[in-house]
């Protein structure tokens, strides 16, 4: 569980997050909102890249904001980025393995964990191929494997299916839905594809101009008049 209270982030005169208060319990949760709403800023706060002006973030009983950024990943905060970040000249195995190198497990256990994560995303037949040889969809899957290897506690997915064709988005959705069950991690999904969000997320929070305007069960949130007005427009995807 992650508990956010009064989280405020300011960039100069712009308030990117304005006293955001939300609780993500378990499973896969959605975080949606128009461009510039503060979704990625929220992820950056959780990752340690942005220092908030105020507020607290408690994740599984730990004060997340008190941890050094690189220690958060070792503790269990994992994430993907809007732009794909897999390292081209390393193999899939090395890309995934480097996230898990800092654990205190034995070499064999780490190897099994890495291959297990690669298998979850379906790239096990190509584990030792270089990322440079993969297509865009498979590179996204490598990033997903990086996010779930070992024992992640909080998986932050920032538009993981952006630019992917429908078939690969569906496949990505199946994998995302399975993350909590396979790893026990709380997963937060940011995406503009409402069909992906509604198929993956039991609960969803909505940001608009840095303010939380709705949160709750996904189907209810997507029918919320404030959400429809601020983000979805007249089209109600969940209907």
């Amino acid at each position: 569980m992650i508990d956010v209270t009064d989280l405020t982030v300011k960039f100069g005169g712009v308030t990117s997050l304005d006293q955001m208060a939300v609780r993500f319990e378990s499973g896969t949760c959605g975080l949606i909102g128009p461009n510039g709403a503060g979704k990625t800023t929220f992820f950056n706060v959780l990752s340690g890249f942005v220092k908030p002006a105020g507020g607290t973030v408690t994740a599984f009983g730990e004060n997340l904001l008190g941890m050094a950024h690189f220690r958060r990943a070792r503790w269990g905060v994992r994430r993907t980025f809007q732009t794909e970040q897999a390292i081209e000249n390393l193999s899939i195995y090395d890309n995934v393995g480097m996230i898990h190198e800092h654990s205190k497990l034995s070499g064999n256990q780490r190897r099994d964990d890495v291959l297990g994560a690669i298998a979850i995303v379906g790239l096990q037949d190509h584990a030792y191929h270089k990322v440079a040889t993969l297509g865009a969809g498979d590179r996204r899957l490598v990033e997903l494997a990086r996010a779930i290897v070992g024992k992640p506690r909080l998986v932050l997915l920032d538009e993981p299916a952006a630019g992917l064709p429908d078939e690969e988005t569906t496949r990505m959705g199946q994998i995302i839905t399975a993350i909590p069950e396979r790893t026990g991690a709380l997963t937060i999904l940011v995406d503009h594809d409402m069909s992906l969000v509604s198929s993956c997320c039991q609960n969803t929070a909505v940001l608009d101009f840095g303010k939380l305007i709705a949160s709750g069960p996904t189907d209810q949130v997507l029918r919320d008049p404030n959400v429809v007005k601020a983000y979805l427009g007249t089209e109600n995807i969940a209907a």
């Binding site: 950024h69 990943a73 390292i87 000249n89 480097m98 190198e101 379906g122 030792y128 994998i175």
Partner: protein, 363 residues
């Protein structure tokens, strides 16, 4: 490609087999390196004049400097323009120890590497906060400052003070060489072996955890942090490694030159070093060898045929422009492709070249 059912059991057992650490590709590379070493250690000293043997000794020394700079530029993405000054520090420390102690030459090289590593890492401290042009500028300024200090302090020449400088400038002893390599050909072989060891040290780093961490930092620092990589530690580690090998190179340079003068270490040499590293290939260890050849052998050849080495400034400028626009992986990657094209042209067979340039390094 993605066909695995999520509900199925996906145990790693029976999964893909990791490529052998000593597979065929590694064996071929090891064979190439062995042949290269035999030619360099046995054939070249037997057929070349002392003039060219001395030039190749300098090539071995500067190849070490270039492999260190290649780690910073090619592997971590940190542009340092202070390596000539770091080399000067290594040479100064080695000269002082060689004059002031009777330590074996190998121990002096190691001490020179370690002490230079400590000082060179200080040069890397700005890298924790800045990159790109600003880091280049800061390291260039630091290099200039170090050059000024060394010009004031002078290089040791057998004196007894802290600086080891004898201002009388009479009866100046030469910097000693190792007992097993007092002659120029022997010292050339000695330098090549030390360079080989330094290349192996860098290769081990590239193939293990630091190499993967550097690759992640080069790709994206936020992504590296999100992967749990302590970017501060690994950036300093890169500067420490580059400084260590450059310090060892400085120790070799002291023995190769036998007399050191501050005028031999110009601040602009750092810029030329970066240029030749880019031209040789910053992503490949062989690129450092080519960079060393460009930096030291090419001027010697031009000098030998009566052409002023000053022309190299223009030549290197054109070379860097060509590399940056047409062959970002450097001559080491471009030359085999060009030779293959030439072969295809001569024999009438065209060869399709891969579109994506490899940035994988290795001996």
């Amino acid at each position: 490609m993605s066909t695995t059912e999520l509900s199925s059991s996906q145990t790693p057992a029976g999964g893909p087999v990791a490529p052998s650490r000593f597979g065929r590709g590694v064996q071929v590379r090891a064979g190439v390196v062995a042949v290269f070493l035999v030619v360099v250690l046995v054939v070249l000293p037997a057929v070349l004049s002392i003039y060219y043997i001395d030039a190749l000794t300098q090539v071995a020394v500067y190849s070490i400097v270039c492999v260190g700079l290649g780690v910073l530029v090619g592997r971590v993405g940190l542009v340092s323009l202070g390596q000539a000054a770091v080399l000067a520090i290594g040479a100064w420390i080695a000269a002082r120890l060689l004059f002031g102690t009777s330590l074996p030459y190998e121990v002096v090289l190691f001490c020179s590497g370690v002490l230079t590593m400590l000082l060179g890492t200080l040069v890397g401290l700005p890298a924790l906060r800045m990159r790109g042009l600003y880091l280049a500028l800061i390291t260039l300024m630091l290099a200039g400052a170090i050059t000024v200090v060394l010009a004031t302090l002078n290089f040791p020449n057998g004196g007894h003070s802290f600086s080891g400088y004898n201002g009388a400038l009479v009866h100046i002893p030469a910097i000693r060489r190792p007992g097993i390599a007092t002659s120029d050909p022997a010292f050339f072989r000695y330098s090549v072996i030390v360079a080989f060891v330094m290349f192996l040290l860098v290769l081990v780093h590239l193939k293990t955890r630091p190499g993967r961490a550097w690759a992640a930092i080069r790709q994206s620092e936020p992504a590296a942090l999100a992967a749990g990589i302590n970017t501060t530690l690994y950036k300093l580690w890169a500067f420490a490694l580059a400084s260590f090998v450059t310090g060892v190179a400085g120790g070799l340079l002291a023995g190769a030159a036998r007399y050191l003068y501050s005028i031999d270490f110009q601040t602009q040499d750092s810029i030329t070093l970066l240029a030749v590293v880019l031209m040789g290939g910053a992503y490949n260890l062989w690129g450092a060898v080519i960079a060393g050849l460009l930096f030291q052998l090419l001027p010697a050849v031009l000098n030998d045929v009566g052409v002023s080495p000053d022309w190299l400034t223009i030549l290197f400028g054109i070379g860097v422009l060509q590399v940056l626009t047409a062959a970002p992986t450097g001559i080491v990657d471009q030359l085999p492709k060009d030779l293959a094209r030439l072969f295809g042209f001569v024999t009438g067979r065209s060869r399709r070249q891969p579109k994506t340039a490899s940035v994988e390094g290795g001996l």
